[in-house]
Amino acid sequence: MAAATATRFCQQLSSVSDMSPDWTTKEVSTGTTIMAVEYEGGVVIGADSRTTTGAYIANRVTDKLTPIHDRIFCCRSGSAADTQAIADIVTYQLGFHSIELDEAPLVQTAANLFKASCYRYREELMAGIIVAGWDKRRGGQVYTVPVGGMLVRQPVSVGGSGSTYIYGFMDSNYKPNMTKEQCLHLVSGALSLAMERDGSSGGVIRLAAISESGVERQVILGNQLPKWSTA
């Protein structure tokens, strides 16, 4: 933001972009595709692995699925710095709360902590987060906290720049009461379609299935991505 105001108010003989590549001036962003689906007994979450600074891919194997607690994860999209900072803060707050409570925290609590930070600092932040996990009270849950700081629970949620391309696919392919395998199939299919169309999404697909018994993580490499007839 400071760089933007400086260029507006001072005269320049040549602009920065002529002299140096754009990645020296652009903020690091997880222009991304993230997704989470509830199923009977848990949730499946997934994300691509591309972090960009302008046109440069700063990290092509990013892990955007961040653990917040034993059975609660968040999927991060937007500014990499903002989402990392918020996730660190919520991890601390939730850990403290869990110790006080002397039991595992609720997914709804984690989601509300994210909402509190995202809403209070909404003018400074650029963060779209999906909170998903399992708890004893309500089983598998997905909460979405998009830019601006709204909080809503949804059975299936997509986020990030690549998500616009897969709304239709998600609407037509999601059915309530799917099994874990069907959810994994849906998420990996949707993410590969989005990665195909969105320049800011790509790399590998990272998946995680969270249930009472634990967290199973998986990586689908570029050459193993689901293929479609148009590819």
């Binding site: 933001m1 037509s172 059915k175 949707a190 148009t230």
Partner: protein, 217 residues
């Protein structure tokens, strides 16, 4: 802080829209929604027709500024008729698409409209061409366009198969339009579909309440 707008900022009436054209075995289906909006929150028309017939077996669908689109299609229709009379044969779909492209490219500074041209001719059978905002012309087996199309890229990439039957293609196009209309606030109304084959042209109109419903509706 910058907010991101996905819609183009078109002055006046816009067909913030969903349009598509898909080839199948023996023909092509071209389809669109029916909403014309102004500024993203006023619907000027719930039943506008965005499928313009430019010749017996060639249709165009329009996206973007409605004024620009109507001006271009009117000019193109005239030029294609004249060309067809001079050649003494029905025009090629590629010729019609090229006419649109010339108009868009030569006036690229002033215009803000994109087109999909689809039809059937004796030389190459069913074809789909897309003319983008700056005047690029591309031939594809199927294509989607308009603001609502962003939401169905994943769906159409996954579900399209070459050489579908007429019924499969109709279902594919209807589903795609219904999904886009469900997510894009400037697409809606009824689904207009036109099936173009060697034998003729058939209009199918599906009112909003008869469109396929999905899990959360």
């Amino acid at each position: 802080m910058e907010r991101h707008y996905m819609d183009s900022k078109i002055k006046g009436v816009s067909t913030g829209t969903t349009i598509l054209a898909v080839t199948f075995n023996g023909g092509v289906i071209i389809g669109s929604d029916s909403r014309a909006s102004m500024g993203g929150n006023y619907v000027c028309s719930k039943t506008i027709n965005k499928l313009i017939q430019v010749h017996d077996r060639i249709f165009c669908c329009i996206a973007g500024s409605l004024a620009d689109a109507q001006a271009v299609t009117k000019t193109a229709k005239f030029q294609i008729s004249l060309h067809s009379i001079q050649m003494e044969s029905p025009p090629l779909v590629k010729a019609a698409a090229s006419v649109m492209k010339e108009l868009c490219y030569n006036n690229k500074e002033e215009l803000q409209a994109g087109f999909i041209t689809a039809g059937w001719d004796k030389k190459k059978g069913p074809q789909v061409y897309t003319v983008a905002l700056g005047g690029m012309l591309l031939s594809l087996p199927f294509t989607i366009g308009g603001s609502g199309s962003t939401y169905i890229y994943g769906y159409t990439d996954a579900k399209y198969k070459p050489d579908m039957s007429r019924e499969e293609c109709l279902q594919f196009a209807t589903n795609a339009l219904a999904l886009a209309m469900g997510r894009d606030n400037v697409s809606g109304g009824v689904a207009h579909l036109v099936v173009i084959t060697e034998g003729g042209v058939e209009h199918v109109v599906i009112p909003g309440d008869k469109l396929p419903k999905f899990h959360d509706e």
